[in-house]
């Protein structure tokens, strides 16, 4: 009985916060657009049999007829993948330095990583417009040092999107890696060195494998939200920046086509489920290994 209750809690959570919303979106994706409140048909009000008969996969077929959609998915995957790697390269050294810092500093360093969250996400992204624009701080500084003679165009390009994503999601990369590194026993490194490893080899053979779970967790925490990101590409990206979040927004708001927007969202979710399942499996393995 107790065991049943323990399992029921997470499943109820999953049901209420994932499965039910997903089924609602999935149902809308099988409906047809209509000029009504809400703007699709059939609805639950039409009765159960009409509801079932009115559903079809027309909208999913439509997505395959226009290359805009697969281009947007591919370009989102690319942007999310590259920015996850960039975040890892920036985040790992920071997490490593934090874990190696004297015990009494660590709380302060942790605080500094979390501090930006005290300001609204939107304001922080807006601030980057001021930094990256042609007349912005970065260009003025570079012009002043004489490193460039003409202002660099960064804002409204994909470069600005990468900068924005790396900046925004950096704490999500640092924290799990830091947690993994902090638990690591220093004597393992000493042992490796005693056995003839150089510092670099010891880092590669001991530290990296031991922080592997932190790296994987960090990468998922960055990759998953970056894939569907809307705010950063729309504020920092140019009109050429193609991301599925923007396409979704246009389907929903400009075309007022909730069914097609839902179909785009369902496919996005399916793309995300694969890495999430891999992540879950990794977690499980880790739990089993520790037990």
């Amino acid at each position: 009985m107790r065991r049943f209750a323990l399992i029921a809690v997470p499943y109820a959570w999953l049901l209420a916060l994932f499965l039910v919303p997903f089924l609602i979106v999935f149902k809308i994706s099988l409906s047809d657009i209509a000029l009504a409140i809400p703007p699709y048909t059939p609805t639950v009000k039409d009765g159960f049999s009409a509801l079932i008969q009115g559903l079809d996969f027309e909208n999913f077929v439509f997505l395959t007829t226009d290359d805009l959609y697969y281009k947007a998915y591919l370009s989102s995957l690319q942007i999310a993948l590259i920015s996850t790697l960039l975040t890892l390269f920036v985040g790992y050294p920071i997490a490593y330095a934090m874990a190696r810092a004297p015990q009494e500093w660590r709380a302060t360093l942790m605080m500094l990583v979390i501090l930006p969250f005290w300001t609204s996400f939107l304001i922080r992204v807006y601030a980057w417009i001021g930094i990256l624009s042609n007349e912005g701080f970065l260009n003025q500084f570079l012009l002043w040092t004489g490193m460039i003679s003409d202002p660099l165009t960064i804002l409204n390009t994909n470069t600005a999107v990468y900068i924005g994503i790396v900046y925004t999601y950096l704490p999500f990369m640092i924290l799990p890696i830091y947690a993994a590194l902090e638990r690591m026993d220093d004597s393992l490194i000493e042992a490796a060195e005693d056995l003839g490893c150089s510092r670099l080899t010891a880092f590669w053979l001991v530290t990296i494998p031991l922080s592997r779970n932190g790296i994987i967790a960090g990468c998922f925490l960055v990759f998953i939200p970056a894939l569907g990101e809307f705010v950063i590409p729309s504020l920092l990206g140019g009109s050429g920046t193609l991301m599925i979040g923007k396409v979704l927004f246009e389907e929903f708001f400009n075309n007022r086509d909730w069914p097609v927007a839902s179909a785009v969202a369902v496919i996005l979710l399916l793309i995300l489920i694969i890495p999430i399942v891999l992540f879950q499996r990794n977690q499980q393995k880790q739990a089993e290994a520790e037990a």
Partner: protein, 361 residues
Amino acid sequence: MIKTILTSTATLALVAGAALAEEVRVYNWSDYIDEDLLAKFEEETGLTLIYDVFDSNEVLETKMLAGGSGYDVVVPSGTFLQRQISAGAFQKLDTAQLPNLGNMWDVVTERTEQYDPENAYSINYMWGTTGIGANVGKVREILGEDAPIGSLELVLNPENMEKLADCGVHFLDAPAEMLPMALKYIGEDPDSHDPEVLAKAEEVMMKVRPYIQKFHSSEYINALANGDICVAVGWSGDILQARDRAAEAENGVEIAYNAAKEGAQMWFDQMAIPVDAPNVEGAHKFLNFIMDAENMAAASNYVYYANGNEASQEFLVEDVSGDPAIYPDAATLDNLFTTTPYPPKVQRVVTRSWTKIKSGT
């Protein structure tokens, strides 16, 4: 114990219900009213006014079609209003509660009837045109003294646009206004819903797209005023605000607004009451307050847009009523056109075409 909780919950609900009845919730465009009017309304009626703002018709429409927005008065533009009326999003106005209806101007009400037959669901708040804002000095420097600043040639002829590109050109991010403009330029019916005709508009836009710095519907106000860009296709009042900001800053930037001489689009922002408005009586009080001649004039004097209220005209300042960019003369008025909403299938063609124009794919 449980009984106490139940009673106190019921009491709370009653109190909350009573409080709700004293509130009027208005959802209007940003930077679109003299805020002194909001305080005046609260003083006159004793109602609490909750005033929220939006910046695109699309956002408003999504709220309306989802239902249960909680607003008592909203302000969609003509074509959006028409579509939302057919979706059943609004309720008919109770004219008995609107004695100030007599102040309205037939020049405007005749035109808004095409969106809202007999003006049964809405009253006009403001109206304007979509046209061209130019930094006169810089444009003349680049294109010569006879630069066509009042013509679509300036923004839709690739030869002119190529020269202007370095100086900066912004277009509205609004396909329902830009495609009709392109159609007008090549002499087609700007209100065409025929995908083949709309494809011609796409061709016109594709030729000038390399020279457009940005598609955006509000940034151009500051960019024009600061002299960051030379030309913007935008809404009349916004460009006039840019003109005044530049004049106040005394930065040597002179901005001119022109409704294109080939013909310009005329649009109307209409106040309406959602079908599920919590405080219908309060909503009518707000509409009647806005239709008061002096109140409406105060709003126009503040935002530099023309209104649909004839009685308010005697209270307008000369800067507003005497400016042909705000109140066009009869000849210009004849040259303005209006459009009707695209049906869903055509809307999809238009949005797809717009994505192609903006992103090249």
